[in-house]
Protein backbone atom coordinates (compact mmCIF):
# COMPACT_ATOMS: atom_id res chain seq x y z
CA UNK A 1 0.00 0.00 0.00
CA UNK A 2 2.84 2.36 0.88
CA UNK A 3 4.53 1.68 -2.45
CA UNK A 4 1.32 2.14 -4.41
CA UNK A 5 0.76 5.45 -2.62
CA UNK A 6 4.32 6.57 -3.26
CA UNK A 7 4.23 5.60 -6.94
CA UNK A 8 0.82 7.25 -7.37
CA UNK A 9 2.03 10.41 -5.64
CA UNK A 10 5.07 10.60 -7.93
CA UNK A 11 2.92 10.04 -11.01
CA UNK A 12 0.43 12.63 -9.80
CA UNK A 13 3.10 15.26 -9.17
CA UNK A 14 4.94 14.59 -12.43
CA UNK A 15 1.71 14.73 -14.49
CA UNK A 16 2.23 11.13 -15.62
CA UNK A 17 -1.15 10.06 -14.28
CA UNK A 18 -3.08 12.45 -16.50
CA UNK A 19 -0.87 11.67 -19.51
CA UNK A 20 -1.68 7.98 -19.19
CA UNK A 21 -5.39 8.44 -18.57
CA UNK A 22 -8.02 8.26 -21.27
CA UNK A 23 -9.62 11.55 -22.36
CA UNK A 24 -12.86 10.89 -20.48
CA UNK A 25 -12.05 12.93 -17.40
CA UNK A 26 -10.86 15.88 -19.49
CA UNK A 27 -13.96 15.78 -21.66
CA UNK A 28 -16.20 15.58 -18.59
CA UNK A 29 -14.48 18.68 -17.24
CA UNK A 30 -14.92 20.54 -20.54
CA UNK A 31 -18.60 19.59 -20.67
CA UNK A 32 -19.05 20.85 -17.13
CA UNK A 33 -17.47 24.16 -18.16
CA UNK A 34 -19.83 24.35 -21.16
CA UNK A 35 -22.79 23.69 -18.91
CA UNK A 36 -21.72 26.42 -16.48
CA UNK A 37 -21.11 28.93 -19.24
CA UNK A 38 -24.40 28.06 -20.96
CA UNK A 39 -26.29 28.70 -17.70
CA UNK A 40 -24.56 32.07 -17.35
CA UNK A 41 -24.58 33.27 -20.94
CA UNK A 42 -27.89 32.06 -22.41
CA UNK A 43 -30.43 34.45 -20.97
CA UNK A 44 -33.62 33.09 -22.52
CA UNK A 45 -34.96 30.30 -20.29
CA UNK A 46 -36.54 27.98 -22.92
CA UNK A 47 -33.48 28.21 -25.18
CA UNK A 48 -31.22 27.66 -22.17
CA UNK A 49 -33.17 24.55 -21.20
CA UNK A 50 -32.89 23.20 -24.76
CA UNK A 51 -29.14 23.87 -24.81
CA UNK A 52 -28.69 22.11 -21.48
CA UNK A 53 -30.65 19.12 -22.78
CA UNK A 54 -28.28 18.97 -25.75
CA UNK A 55 -25.31 19.10 -23.39
CA UNK A 56 -26.87 16.31 -21.34
CA UNK A 57 -26.96 14.24 -24.53
CA UNK A 58 -23.24 14.89 -24.98
CA UNK A 59 -22.67 13.73 -21.39
CA UNK A 60 -24.70 10.58 -21.97
CA UNK A 61 -22.70 9.98 -25.13
CA UNK A 62 -19.46 10.32 -23.23
CA UNK A 63 -20.64 7.85 -20.60
CA UNK A 64 -21.68 5.40 -23.30
CA UNK A 65 -18.32 5.74 -25.06
CA UNK A 66 -16.43 5.12 -21.83
CA UNK A 67 -18.51 2.01 -21.22
CA UNK A 68 -17.73 0.77 -24.73
CA UNK A 69 -14.02 1.31 -24.23
CA UNK A 70 -14.01 -0.33 -20.79
CA UNK A 71 -15.85 -3.37 -22.17
CA UNK A 72 -13.44 -3.59 -25.10
CA UNK A 73 -10.36 -3.34 -22.84
CA UNK A 74 -11.75 -5.97 -20.48
CA UNK A 75 -12.47 -8.26 -23.44
CA UNK A 76 -8.89 -7.90 -24.78
CA UNK A 77 -7.45 -8.43 -21.28
CA UNK A 78 -9.55 -11.58 -20.89
CA UNK A 79 -8.36 -12.91 -24.26
CA UNK A 80 -4.75 -12.06 -23.37
CA UNK A 81 -5.09 -14.10 -20.18
CA UNK A 82 -6.37 -17.27 -21.88
CA UNK A 83 -3.92 -19.73 -23.40
CA UNK A 84 -6.57 -21.17 -25.71
CA UNK A 85 -7.74 -17.79 -27.02
CA UNK A 86 -8.04 -17.63 -30.82
CA UNK A 87 -8.32 -14.88 -33.40
CA UNK A 88 -12.09 -15.25 -33.14
CA UNK A 89 -11.90 -14.27 -29.45
CA UNK A 90 -9.99 -11.10 -30.27
CA UNK A 91 -12.28 -10.32 -33.22
CA UNK A 92 -15.30 -10.77 -30.97
CA UNK A 93 -14.02 -7.90 -28.83
CA UNK A 94 -14.11 -5.42 -31.68
CA UNK A 95 -17.11 -6.81 -33.57
CA UNK A 96 -19.80 -4.76 -31.78
CA UNK A 97 -17.73 -1.58 -31.83
CA UNK A 98 -18.54 -0.58 -35.42
CA UNK A 99 -22.32 -0.43 -34.95
CA UNK A 100 -22.14 0.93 -31.40
CA UNK A 101 -19.83 3.73 -32.46
CA UNK A 102 -21.96 4.63 -35.51
CA UNK A 103 -25.11 4.91 -33.41
CA UNK A 104 -23.29 6.92 -30.77
CA UNK A 105 -21.90 9.29 -33.37
CA UNK A 106 -25.37 9.80 -34.85
CA UNK A 107 -26.74 10.75 -31.42
CA UNK A 108 -23.88 13.19 -30.92
CA UNK A 109 -24.53 14.87 -34.29
CA UNK A 110 -28.18 15.29 -33.21
CA UNK A 111 -27.04 16.79 -29.90
CA UNK A 112 -24.73 19.15 -31.80
CA UNK A 113 -27.57 20.31 -34.07
CA UNK A 114 -29.90 20.74 -31.10
CA UNK A 115 -27.34 22.84 -29.27
CA UNK A 116 -26.68 25.03 -32.30
CA UNK A 117 -30.41 25.56 -32.79
CA UNK A 118 -30.86 26.56 -29.15
CA UNK A 119 -28.20 29.23 -28.82
CA UNK A 120 -27.42 32.31 -30.85
CA UNK A 121 -24.09 32.78 -32.55
CA UNK A 122 -23.04 35.42 -30.00
CA UNK A 123 -23.92 33.14 -27.06
CA UNK A 124 -22.08 30.24 -28.70
CA UNK A 125 -18.99 32.41 -29.07
CA UNK A 126 -19.17 33.30 -25.37
CA UNK A 127 -19.48 29.66 -24.32
CA UNK A 128 -16.68 28.61 -26.67
CA UNK A 129 -14.46 31.41 -25.35
CA UNK A 130 -15.00 30.26 -21.76
CA UNK A 131 -14.26 26.65 -22.61
CA UNK A 132 -11.28 27.27 -24.87
CA UNK A 133 -9.64 29.36 -22.17
CA UNK A 134 -9.22 26.20 -20.10
CA UNK A 135 -5.88 24.39 -20.41
CA UNK A 136 -7.78 21.12 -20.95
CA UNK A 137 -9.08 22.55 -24.26
CA UNK A 138 -5.78 21.62 -25.89
CA UNK A 139 -7.55 18.33 -26.50
CA UNK A 140 -9.22 20.06 -29.47
CA UNK A 141 -5.91 21.25 -30.87
CA UNK A 142 -5.39 19.61 -34.29
CA UNK A 143 -1.62 19.99 -33.89
CA UNK A 144 -1.82 17.13 -31.40
CA UNK A 145 -2.50 14.68 -34.20
CA UNK A 146 0.82 15.46 -35.81
CA UNK A 147 2.66 14.54 -32.63
CA UNK A 148 3.49 10.96 -31.81
CA UNK A 149 3.99 10.17 -28.18
CA UNK A 150 7.65 9.36 -27.64
CA UNK A 151 8.59 5.74 -27.08
CA UNK A 152 9.16 5.13 -23.39
CA UNK A 153 12.84 5.69 -22.72
CA UNK A 154 13.00 2.59 -20.55
CA UNK A 155 10.85 -0.45 -20.07
CA UNK A 156 9.06 -0.27 -16.72
CA UNK A 157 8.95 -3.97 -16.02
CA UNK A 158 11.12 -5.87 -13.57
CA UNK A 159 14.53 -6.72 -14.95
CA UNK A 160 14.66 -10.43 -14.26
CA UNK A 161 18.10 -11.55 -15.38
CA UNK A 162 20.78 -10.26 -13.00
CA UNK A 163 23.40 -9.53 -15.67
CA UNK A 164 20.91 -7.42 -17.66
CA UNK A 165 20.07 -5.11 -14.79
CA UNK A 166 20.94 -1.44 -14.86
CA UNK A 167 22.30 0.35 -11.79
CA UNK A 168 18.88 1.84 -11.01
CA UNK A 169 15.52 0.13 -10.88
CA UNK A 170 12.98 0.94 -13.59
CA UNK A 171 10.29 3.41 -12.65
CA UNK A 172 7.60 2.02 -10.31
CA UNK A 173 9.68 -1.04 -9.52
CA UNK A 174 10.37 -1.62 -5.84
CA UNK A 175 12.97 -3.89 -4.31
CA UNK A 176 12.83 -5.06 -0.74
CA UNK A 177 16.51 -5.57 -0.08
CA UNK A 178 17.57 -8.26 2.32
CA UNK A 179 20.49 -9.81 0.57
CA UNK A 180 24.04 -9.06 -0.53
CA UNK A 181 25.18 -8.15 -4.07
CA UNK A 182 22.49 -5.52 -4.52
CA UNK A 183 23.28 -2.64 -6.83
CA UNK A 184 22.62 -0.07 -4.11
CA UNK A 185 25.28 -1.46 -1.76
CA UNK A 186 27.91 -1.93 -4.46
CA UNK A 187 30.93 -0.10 -3.05
CA UNK A 188 29.22 0.87 0.22
CA UNK A 189 32.48 0.75 2.14
CA UNK A 190 32.85 3.50 4.71
CA UNK A 191 36.03 4.06 6.75
CA UNK A 192 34.55 2.37 9.83
CA UNK A 193 32.21 -0.23 8.31
CA UNK A 194 31.36 -2.13 5.20
CA UNK A 195 27.67 -2.27 4.43
CA UNK A 196 25.75 -4.91 2.52
CA UNK A 197 22.24 -6.27 2.74
CA UNK A 198 21.17 -9.52 4.36
CA UNK A 199 22.56 -11.38 7.31
CA UNK A 200 26.32 -11.28 7.53
CA UNK A 201 29.04 -12.74 9.67
CA UNK A 202 32.39 -10.96 9.70
CA UNK A 203 35.38 -12.69 11.20
CA UNK A 204 38.89 -11.44 11.88
CA UNK A 205 41.75 -12.76 13.99
CA UNK A 206 42.28 -11.34 17.47
CA UNK A 207 45.40 -9.32 16.59
CA UNK A 208 43.53 -7.48 13.84
CA UNK A 209 40.52 -7.02 16.12
CA UNK A 210 42.75 -5.47 18.78
CA UNK A 211 44.41 -3.20 16.22
CA UNK A 212 41.13 -1.93 14.76
CA UNK A 213 39.11 -1.94 17.96
CA UNK A 214 36.31 -3.97 16.35
CA UNK A 215 34.97 -7.34 17.50
CA UNK A 216 36.63 -10.49 16.23
CA UNK A 217 33.26 -11.93 15.30
CA UNK A 218 30.43 -9.68 14.19
CA UNK A 219 26.89 -10.58 13.15
CA UNK A 220 24.79 -8.03 11.29
CA UNK A 221 21.41 -7.98 9.65
CA UNK A 222 20.51 -5.22 7.24
CA UNK A 223 17.32 -4.78 5.27
CA UNK A 224 15.65 -1.96 3.43
CA UNK A 225 14.08 -0.93 0.16
CA UNK A 226 14.92 0.65 -3.17
CA UNK A 227 12.40 2.41 -5.39
CA UNK A 228 12.68 3.39 -9.03
CA UNK A 229 11.19 6.86 -8.69
CA UNK A 230 11.75 7.97 -12.29
CA UNK A 231 13.03 6.16 -15.38
CA UNK A 232 16.65 6.58 -14.30
CA UNK A 233 16.49 7.76 -10.72
CA UNK A 234 16.38 5.53 -7.72
CA UNK A 235 16.25 6.19 -4.01
CA UNK A 236 16.31 3.86 -1.09
CA UNK A 237 17.57 3.04 2.35
CA UNK A 238 18.70 0.15 4.47
CA UNK A 239 16.50 1.22 7.34
CA UNK A 240 16.72 -1.97 9.39
CA UNK A 241 20.41 -2.00 10.26
CA UNK A 242 21.02 -4.30 13.19
CA UNK A 243 24.15 -5.52 14.86
CA UNK A 244 23.11 -8.89 16.28
CA UNK A 245 26.31 -10.01 18.04
CA UNK A 246 28.51 -9.74 20.06
CA UNK A 247 26.05 -7.13 21.37
CA UNK A 248 22.70 -6.16 19.94
CA UNK A 249 22.37 -2.58 18.74
CA UNK A 250 21.05 -0.44 15.94
CA UNK A 251 23.63 0.54 13.35
CA UNK A 252 23.42 3.69 11.26
CA UNK A 253 20.85 3.75 8.46
CA UNK A 254 22.21 3.88 4.93
CA UNK A 255 20.34 6.17 2.53
CA UNK A 256 21.19 6.32 -1.16
CA UNK A 257 20.19 8.22 -4.28
CA UNK A 258 21.32 7.18 -7.74
CA UNK A 259 20.91 8.99 -11.02
CA UNK A 260 21.72 6.96 -14.08
CA UNK A 261 22.60 7.94 -17.64
CA UNK A 262 22.08 5.16 -20.15
CA UNK A 263 24.57 5.48 -22.95
CA UNK A 264 25.13 3.09 -25.82
CA UNK A 265 25.45 -0.24 -24.01
CA UNK A 266 27.05 1.44 -21.00
CA UNK A 267 25.41 2.99 -17.97
CA UNK A 268 26.98 5.81 -16.06
CA UNK A 269 25.49 6.36 -12.63
CA UNK A 270 26.12 8.99 -10.02
CA UNK A 271 25.37 7.90 -6.50
CA UNK A 272 25.42 9.61 -3.16
CA UNK A 273 25.03 7.57 -0.01
CA UNK A 274 24.56 8.85 3.52
CA UNK A 275 25.00 7.10 6.79
CA UNK A 276 23.04 8.50 9.71
CA UNK A 277 25.23 9.40 12.68
CA UNK A 278 26.92 6.50 14.43
CA UNK A 279 30.15 6.29 16.44
CA UNK A 280 31.90 8.37 13.81
CA UNK A 281 29.09 10.79 13.04
CA UNK A 282 27.62 11.29 9.60
CA UNK A 283 28.96 9.25 6.74
CA UNK A 284 28.82 10.47 3.16
CA UNK A 285 29.93 8.60 0.08
CA UNK A 286 29.60 10.43 -3.21
CA UNK A 287 30.82 8.71 -6.32
CA UNK A 288 30.09 7.30 -9.73
CA UNK A 289 29.92 3.91 -11.28
CA UNK A 290 30.08 2.53 -14.76
CA UNK A 291 28.04 -0.54 -15.60
CA UNK A 292 28.10 -2.78 -18.63
CA UNK A 293 24.98 -4.93 -18.55
CA UNK A 294 24.85 -7.92 -20.88
CA UNK A 295 22.90 -11.03 -21.71
CA UNK A 296 25.35 -13.32 -19.94
CA UNK A 297 28.19 -11.20 -18.62
CA UNK A 298 28.03 -7.92 -16.78
CA UNK A 299 30.71 -5.74 -15.29
CA UNK A 300 30.55 -2.84 -12.92
CA UNK A 301 33.28 -0.52 -11.71
CA UNK A 302 32.93 2.41 -9.37
CA UNK A 303 34.82 5.18 -7.69
CA UNK A 304 33.59 6.52 -4.36
CA UNK A 305 34.94 8.92 -1.78
CA UNK A 306 33.53 7.72 1.54
CA UNK A 307 34.02 10.02 4.48
CA UNK A 308 32.97 10.17 8.10
CA UNK A 309 32.65 13.69 9.36
CA UNK A 310 31.28 13.58 12.92
CA UNK A 311 28.29 15.65 13.94
CA UNK A 312 27.75 19.30 14.88
CA UNK A 313 27.74 18.33 18.56
CA UNK A 314 30.71 16.00 18.30
CA UNK A 315 32.91 17.19 15.46
CA UNK A 316 35.83 15.00 14.45
CA UNK A 317 38.61 15.42 11.95
CA UNK A 318 37.02 14.01 8.77
CA UNK A 319 38.17 10.54 7.83
CA UNK A 320 38.23 10.36 4.05
CA UNK A 321 38.76 7.22 2.01
CA UNK A 322 38.81 6.13 -1.59
CA UNK A 323 37.05 3.05 -2.84
CA UNK A 324 37.10 1.71 -6.38
CA UNK A 325 35.10 -1.53 -6.42
CA UNK A 326 34.89 -3.90 -9.36
CA UNK A 327 32.30 -6.61 -9.91
CA UNK A 328 31.91 -9.09 -12.71
CA UNK A 329 28.75 -11.17 -12.87
CA UNK A 330 28.16 -14.16 -15.09
CA UNK A 331 24.75 -15.64 -15.67
CA UNK A 332 25.34 -19.33 -16.31
CA UNK A 333 21.63 -19.61 -17.05
CA UNK A 334 19.15 -16.73 -16.90
CA UNK A 335 18.15 -17.61 -13.35
CA UNK A 336 21.56 -18.35 -11.83
CA UNK A 337 24.62 -16.14 -11.65
CA UNK A 338 28.08 -16.15 -10.17
CA UNK A 339 29.98 -13.00 -9.33
CA UNK A 340 33.49 -11.96 -8.46
CA UNK A 341 34.35 -8.77 -6.60
CA UNK A 342 37.61 -6.93 -6.25
CA UNK A 343 38.96 -3.42 -6.74
CA UNK A 344 41.00 -1.21 -4.48
CA UNK A 345 40.08 0.44 -1.21
CA UNK A 346 41.93 3.04 0.78
CA UNK A 347 39.84 3.37 3.94
CA UNK A 348 41.74 6.36 5.35
CA UNK A 349 43.75 8.54 3.02
CA UNK A 350 45.51 10.12 6.02
CA UNK A 351 47.20 6.83 6.89
CA UNK A 352 50.19 5.58 4.97
CA UNK A 353 50.07 2.10 3.53
CA UNK A 354 46.33 1.58 4.05
CA UNK A 355 45.71 0.55 0.45
CA UNK A 356 43.89 -2.77 0.28
CA UNK A 357 42.59 -5.06 -2.41
CA UNK A 358 39.44 -6.99 -1.49
CA UNK A 359 38.43 -10.25 -3.11
CA UNK A 360 35.00 -11.75 -3.04
CA UNK A 361 32.77 -14.29 -4.68
CA UNK A 362 29.03 -14.50 -4.84
CA UNK A 363 26.16 -16.44 -6.29
CA UNK A 364 22.51 -15.77 -6.80
CA UNK A 365 19.35 -17.48 -7.96
CA UNK A 366 16.44 -15.50 -9.39
CA UNK A 367 13.00 -17.00 -8.98
CA UNK A 368 9.79 -15.73 -10.54
CA UNK A 369 7.11 -16.16 -7.90
CA UNK A 370 3.73 -14.92 -9.11
CA UNK A 371 4.27 -11.34 -10.22
CA UNK A 372 7.44 -10.92 -8.14
CA UNK A 373 11.06 -11.81 -8.65
CA UNK A 374 13.03 -13.08 -5.66
CA UNK A 375 16.81 -13.10 -5.72
CA UNK A 376 18.46 -15.51 -3.28
CA UNK A 377 22.03 -14.33 -2.91
CA UNK A 378 25.13 -15.20 -0.94
CA UNK A 379 28.65 -13.86 -0.90
CA UNK A 380 32.02 -14.62 0.63
CA UNK A 381 34.49 -11.74 0.77
CA UNK A 382 37.96 -11.07 2.07
CA UNK A 383 37.51 -7.33 2.56
CA UNK A 384 41.21 -6.79 3.41
CA UNK A 385 42.58 -9.58 1.20
CA UNK A 386 45.79 -7.96 -0.04
CA UNK A 387 47.80 -5.10 1.41
CA UNK A 388 50.19 -4.35 -1.46
CA UNK A 389 52.23 -1.65 0.28
CA UNK A 390 51.71 -1.63 4.04
CA UNK A 391 53.40 1.03 6.18
CA UNK A 392 55.42 -1.69 7.89
CA UNK A 393 56.68 -4.89 6.37
CA UNK A 394 56.06 -6.18 2.90
CA UNK A 395 52.95 -6.94 0.89
CA UNK A 396 50.85 -9.64 2.47
CA UNK A 397 47.55 -11.45 2.16
CA UNK A 398 44.99 -11.46 4.94
CA UNK A 399 43.05 -14.73 4.84
CA UNK A 400 41.71 -14.59 8.40
CA UNK A 401 39.49 -11.55 7.91
CA UNK A 402 36.47 -12.59 5.90
CA UNK A 403 32.78 -11.89 5.68
CA UNK A 404 29.94 -14.19 4.72
CA UNK A 405 26.58 -12.71 3.77
CA UNK A 406 23.34 -14.23 2.60
CA UNK A 407 19.73 -13.25 2.12
CA UNK A 408 17.01 -12.62 -0.42
CA UNK A 409 15.69 -9.56 -2.20
CA UNK A 410 12.21 -9.16 -3.60
CA UNK A 411 11.35 -7.14 -6.72
CA UNK A 412 7.85 -6.07 -7.70
CA UNK A 413 5.96 -3.42 -9.62
CA UNK A 414 4.26 -0.88 -7.37
CA UNK A 415 1.57 -0.07 -9.95
Amino acid sequence: MLWVALATAIMLLSGELSREADDGATLALLLAAMRKSTIQDVADAPRRAAALRALASFELGLAAYRRQVATFKACIAAADGRYDATRADYDACSAPLESERASLRASLVTAQNDYQAAVTEAERAQVAGAVLALPEARLFDPAQAAKKSPLPSRSRGIEGVASERHPTLPRNVVAVVYGPLSSATFGARFPSRIIDGGTSYAHQDQSRADATGTPAALWNMRAGARVGMFDDFEAGALFIPLQLAPTFRFDPVLIFFTQQFRLNGVDLAIRTSFQTPGDTGWGISPGALLALPGRRLAARVGCFFPMEVGTLKHPIAPVVGLNAPLRVAWNLVPSFFLSADSGVAYDNLALQGALQVPLGFGAGYSLLAGSKVIDFTASFTWDHWLSPAPAQGSAHFEWQAYRIAFGASLYFQAL
Binding site: L17, G61, A64, F72, G81, R124, D141, Q144
Partner: protein
Protein backbone atom coordinates in the same frame (compact mmCIF):
# COMPACT_ATOMS: atom_id res chain seq x y z
CA UNK B 1 9.11 19.21 16.05
CA UNK B 2 9.87 20.09 12.45
CA UNK B 3 10.64 16.51 11.49
CA UNK B 4 7.39 15.21 13.00
CA UNK B 5 5.43 17.84 11.06
CA UNK B 6 7.30 16.93 7.90
CA UNK B 7 6.51 13.26 8.47
CA UNK B 8 2.83 14.05 8.99
CA UNK B 9 2.92 16.09 5.75
CA UNK B 10 4.52 13.30 3.77
CA UNK B 11 2.08 10.82 5.32
CA UNK B 12 -0.86 13.01 4.34
CA UNK B 13 0.36 13.34 0.74
CA UNK B 14 0.85 9.57 0.49
CA UNK B 15 -2.53 8.93 2.11
CA UNK B 16 -4.31 11.22 -0.33
CA UNK B 17 -2.44 9.63 -3.24
CA UNK B 18 -3.32 6.14 -2.06
CA UNK B 19 -6.99 6.97 -1.63
CA UNK B 20 -7.41 9.01 -4.81
CA UNK B 21 -9.07 7.20 -7.68
CA UNK B 22 -6.82 6.64 -10.66
CA UNK B 23 -8.48 7.62 -13.93
CA UNK B 24 -8.73 4.63 -16.27
CA UNK B 25 -5.64 4.36 -18.45
CA UNK B 26 -5.88 4.29 -22.23
CA UNK B 27 -5.87 0.95 -24.04
CA UNK B 28 -2.35 1.68 -25.30
CA UNK B 29 -1.11 2.19 -21.74
CA UNK B 30 -2.65 -1.08 -20.59
CA UNK B 31 -1.18 -3.05 -23.49
CA UNK B 32 2.25 -1.50 -22.88
CA UNK B 33 2.10 -2.30 -19.17
CA UNK B 34 1.17 -5.94 -19.81
CA UNK B 35 3.91 -6.35 -22.41
CA UNK B 36 6.72 -4.67 -20.46
CA UNK B 37 5.88 -6.64 -17.32
CA UNK B 38 6.49 -9.84 -19.27
CA UNK B 39 9.43 -8.71 -21.42
CA UNK B 40 11.83 -8.38 -18.49
CA UNK B 41 11.17 -11.78 -16.97
CA UNK B 42 10.52 -13.95 -20.00
CA UNK B 43 14.04 -15.45 -19.79
CA UNK B 44 13.31 -16.64 -16.25
CA UNK B 45 10.25 -18.52 -17.48
CA UNK B 46 11.32 -19.83 -20.87
CA UNK B 47 14.49 -21.88 -20.71
CA UNK B 48 15.09 -22.02 -24.44
CA UNK B 49 17.09 -18.95 -25.46
CA UNK B 50 15.73 -18.72 -29.01
CA UNK B 51 12.10 -18.85 -27.88
CA UNK B 52 12.76 -16.38 -25.07
CA UNK B 53 14.42 -13.98 -27.51
CA UNK B 54 11.51 -14.08 -29.95
CA UNK B 55 9.00 -13.61 -27.13
CA UNK B 56 10.90 -10.65 -25.82
CA UNK B 57 10.88 -9.15 -29.34
CA UNK B 58 7.11 -9.73 -29.50
CA UNK B 59 6.51 -7.92 -26.22
CA UNK B 60 8.71 -5.02 -27.28
CA UNK B 61 6.86 -4.77 -30.58
CA UNK B 62 3.63 -4.48 -28.62
CA UNK B 63 5.05 -1.34 -26.99
CA UNK B 64 5.59 0.22 -30.44
CA UNK B 65 2.16 -0.94 -31.57
CA UNK B 66 0.53 0.67 -28.56
CA UNK B 67 2.10 3.93 -29.61
CA UNK B 68 0.68 3.43 -33.12
CA UNK B 69 -2.76 2.80 -31.62
CA UNK B 70 -2.59 6.05 -29.71
CA UNK B 71 -1.54 7.97 -32.80
CA UNK B 72 -4.29 6.36 -34.89
CA UNK B 73 -6.89 7.38 -32.30
CA UNK B 74 -5.81 11.03 -32.33
CA UNK B 75 -5.58 11.07 -36.13
CA UNK B 76 -9.06 9.56 -36.45
CA UNK B 77 -10.41 12.27 -34.17
CA UNK B 78 -8.82 15.00 -36.25
CA UNK B 79 -10.00 13.51 -39.55
CA UNK B 80 -13.50 13.18 -38.11
CA UNK B 81 -14.02 16.88 -37.58
CA UNK B 82 -12.24 18.00 -40.73
CA UNK B 83 -13.89 15.51 -43.08
CA UNK B 84 -15.82 17.05 -46.00
CA UNK B 85 -19.59 17.02 -45.69
CA UNK B 86 -19.65 17.46 -41.95
CA UNK B 87 -22.09 20.05 -40.69
CA UNK B 88 -19.41 21.82 -38.65
CA UNK B 89 -18.04 24.88 -40.37
CA UNK B 90 -16.14 26.61 -37.62
CA UNK B 91 -12.55 25.62 -36.87
CA UNK B 92 -12.20 23.75 -33.55
CA UNK B 93 -9.98 26.53 -32.27
CA UNK B 94 -12.97 28.90 -32.25
CA UNK B 95 -15.95 26.66 -31.46
CA UNK B 96 -15.57 23.06 -30.34
CA UNK B 97 -19.30 22.28 -30.61
CA UNK B 98 -20.09 23.82 -33.96
CA UNK B 99 -16.93 22.44 -35.51
CA UNK B 100 -17.85 18.93 -34.41
CA UNK B 101 -14.63 18.67 -32.41
CA UNK B 102 -16.52 17.87 -29.21
CA UNK B 103 -18.55 15.08 -30.78
CA UNK B 104 -15.49 13.67 -32.51
CA UNK B 105 -13.50 13.78 -29.27
CA UNK B 106 -16.22 12.05 -27.29
CA UNK B 107 -16.61 9.22 -29.77
CA UNK B 108 -13.95 9.24 -32.46
CA UNK B 109 -14.60 6.97 -35.41
CA UNK B 110 -12.87 3.60 -35.23
CA UNK B 111 -9.25 4.04 -36.10
CA UNK B 112 -7.32 2.00 -38.61
CA UNK B 113 -7.60 -1.63 -37.50
CA UNK B 114 -4.14 -2.68 -38.69
CA UNK B 115 -2.38 -2.05 -35.36
CA UNK B 116 -5.00 -4.06 -33.50
CA UNK B 117 -4.80 -6.88 -36.06
CA UNK B 118 -1.04 -6.96 -35.66
CA UNK B 119 -1.46 -7.09 -31.88
CA UNK B 120 -3.76 -10.09 -32.21
CA UNK B 121 -1.27 -11.75 -34.55
CA UNK B 122 1.58 -11.20 -32.06
CA UNK B 123 -0.40 -12.51 -29.12
CA UNK B 124 -1.33 -15.63 -31.07
CA UNK B 125 2.29 -16.13 -32.10
CA UNK B 126 3.35 -15.79 -28.45
CA UNK B 127 1.03 -18.69 -27.60
CA UNK B 128 2.72 -20.91 -30.18
CA UNK B 129 6.06 -20.23 -28.48
CA UNK B 130 4.86 -20.92 -24.95
CA UNK B 131 3.69 -24.02 -23.18
CA UNK B 132 0.51 -23.60 -21.18
CA UNK B 133 2.50 -23.59 -17.93
CA UNK B 134 4.90 -20.91 -19.20
CA UNK B 135 1.99 -18.85 -20.49
CA UNK B 136 0.26 -18.96 -17.13
CA UNK B 137 3.43 -17.99 -15.29
CA UNK B 138 3.85 -14.96 -17.54
CA UNK B 139 0.17 -14.08 -17.36
CA UNK B 140 0.50 -13.73 -13.58
CA UNK B 141 2.91 -10.83 -14.06
CA UNK B 142 0.01 -8.53 -14.96
Amino acid sequence: MFSSRALVGVGAVLGVAACSARPPPRLAVELTARATAKAGVVSLVVGDAARAERLRAIYLEVVSLARELDHARVTARLQCHTEPGRSGKAPPASDPIASGALGCSIAPPLADRSALDRYTQLMLEARTLLTQREFQKLARMR
